[in-house]
Symmetry: C2
Subunit: 352 residues, 2 copies
């Protein structure tokens, strides 16, 4: 089976489950107040707006690769990862002051727009979005605790779920602080990628699926050896797509990283290797909310010319190779191995 | 035993447990990065800064009243309620833009002050505080999931923990929206008090303790009949203390509710019964960040003169009576009954 087909196949199942779960929550909320119903509606819309569902699929495939058979139960765990993702995105979007997410307005923008007649719609929107995120964290815990796995597994899954939130939070802090520093190092970036992406997007989901399947500690360790380098590669690819990808496919503008002044490896390396004039141009572009298309094209050219793009591309490929090796030498069954190897290739090849 | 002695006795035990738990988390965080350690240090300081620990004590006493014997295990559950409380306070303080909490700076102020040299310390502080809250939610789940209760109980406790967060979130939304409305009704206020205080401060903790003790559904129901009116009374008393209490004992200024323009029952009733001149004075005071001491004294006088203060006081007493009746007619053992009755009186009599 081709990876994009698997993604497509499970995406539908996960979204159906998210829909039924959130419809139940809307009915619950309706009994409490108009405003509770309203926020749950927005939460549902935000969750169903799309996204790659890559975390979900990793959970399901890790589960199946390690012998798990209860597809309905694992879909609940996959849904918990999507709820966590929405929770973290909603809070991240407040932090980064972003307007657009998954091709629609961010949660704080939804509320700011809806209540635009109030004194301070921006602040109001942010306040509501803080709570929306908190609610989603609670819903993620809820769906795991009510899933069909036995109590021991559910507890382990809940521990993992909350540990992922904690580590992602640590990564986010490093990210925010790196925005203040002028001398961000490759090590800072690497640590942030490890926590915010490798643990969060790859290792965490694989471990959730594996725990649900009753994996041994040894198996979890192999999955970490695969997941961490793969996750770092995933982030590098994300940063490349964030600047060189298609706006339409990504569902967000391809200039947002530059406008935010995000310290990516692409930027770090270009600043290392650029000449004085190029450095000045990049320096002016970073964090410039009013950057023009021409300036952006110039930034892209410099990143290519200085070899910064190929540095990130090569590093990503090296990391993917390392990840694949961990799986090749494992004693996982062939079906599982093939899946993990294919996912690794997909990370590099995807265009959204 | 006098209730204040019980509060004092357990306060110390809970704070000791919070201290050892958060010290462990600091050691964990230290291995990740300087910034992770830093946020955990602030989280520890914030948690140990005080507070009445009333939720904790309700958990412990409900547990013991219903025959629970494992004091060390229940202290972990009590600590989870304190972690939740800090989580919600930190997010609330961002939402309300408050500077002071528990006699010290709010979490977003700590960070804004520490990094005051950065571009936008206020926004930076809020961003870090959003994450601090998220981390605390995760820690609350963690300490329950690792407590010494059996798996079935831990799962039920985790479900309750997350349900409390959800309902409190719904209450907070009503609260924020009531800030936009000019025509807030007594019913709106009552619904908000039910969710934000009765469920959160009284029913939730009592249920957590009772679940840990293996309570029956009938017993949980009696506790709800006691907890909901008592919680409503608790909030009325809080609003009274918020305007008429001692700043020193409360650890926050006694004008913050007025400055925020908080829609309390005190305000609703005074606006119903005041004459034109008084109404104008109250209207100007609400939400006025620069209110003078003289104006505030005048507001207090009007609230007394119009009978609004005694309306809230009487309603609180009526609710406490209702709460006590639910316990009196229950089949709880004498020791437990006495405790619940005493707590009910304490809610009305406390001065902080």
């Amino acid at each position: 089976m081709i990876i994009t087909d698997i993604l497509e196949y499970y995406k539908e199942k996960i979204e159906l489950r998210l829909k039924t779960f959130l419809d139940e929550k809307i009915s619950e909320a309706e009994k409490i107040s108009y405003s509770s119903r309203e926020i749950m509606q927005y939460i549902k819309e935000f969750n169903l707006r799309g996204g790659k569902r890559i975390r979900s699929v990793l959970i399901i495939m890790a589960y199946k690769s390690l012998g798990g058979k209860n597809e309905n139960a694992i879909i609940d765990i996959a849904a918990s990862a999507e709820l966590m993702q929405s929770f973290l995105l909603i809070h991240d979007d407040i932090i980064d002051d972003d307007d657009l997410r998954r091709g629609g307005p961010t949660m704080h923008r939804i509320y700011a727009e809806k209540y635009k007649g109030c004194d301070n719609p921006k602040k109001f929107g942010e306040n509501m979005a803080i709570i929306a995120g908190d609610l989603l964290a609670s819903l993620g815990n809820e769906i795991i605790s009510k899933s069909a796995f036995d109590e021991e597994k559910k507890l382990k899954l809940l521990q993992k779920f909350n540990k992922i939130i904690k580590l992602t939070g640590y990564g986010e802090i490093i990210d925010i602080l790196s925005g203040l520093k002028t001398n961000v190092t490759e090590q800072d970036i690497s640590k942030m990628h490890k926590l915010k992406t490798a643990v969060y997007t790859i290792e965490g989901p694989l471990h959730m699926g594996a725990i649900a399947a009753g994996a041994s500690d040894d198996q979890l360790k192999i999955l970490s050896e695969y997941a961490i380098p793969l996750g770092m590669a995933f982030q590098l690819k994300d940063d490349i797509l964030g600047l060189f990808g298609s706006e339409e496919k990504l569902g967000k503008p391809a200039d947002s990283d530059i406008k935010e002044g995000k310290k990516t490896l692409l930027i770090l390396k270009v600043l290392e290797n650029a000449n004085k004039e190029q450095k000045e141009l990049i320096g002016n572009a970073l964090g410039n909310k009013d950057i023009t298309k021409t300036e952006l094209t110039k930034v892209r050219e410099i990143i290519k010319e200085t070899g910064s793009l190929s540095y990130s591309e090569n590093l990503a490929e090296k990391l993917v190779k390392k990840a694949k090796n961990a799986i090749k030498t494992s004693d996982f069954e062939t079906h599982g191995k093939d899946f993990f190897l294919e996912i690794a290739d997909y990370v590099i090849k995807r265009d959204y």
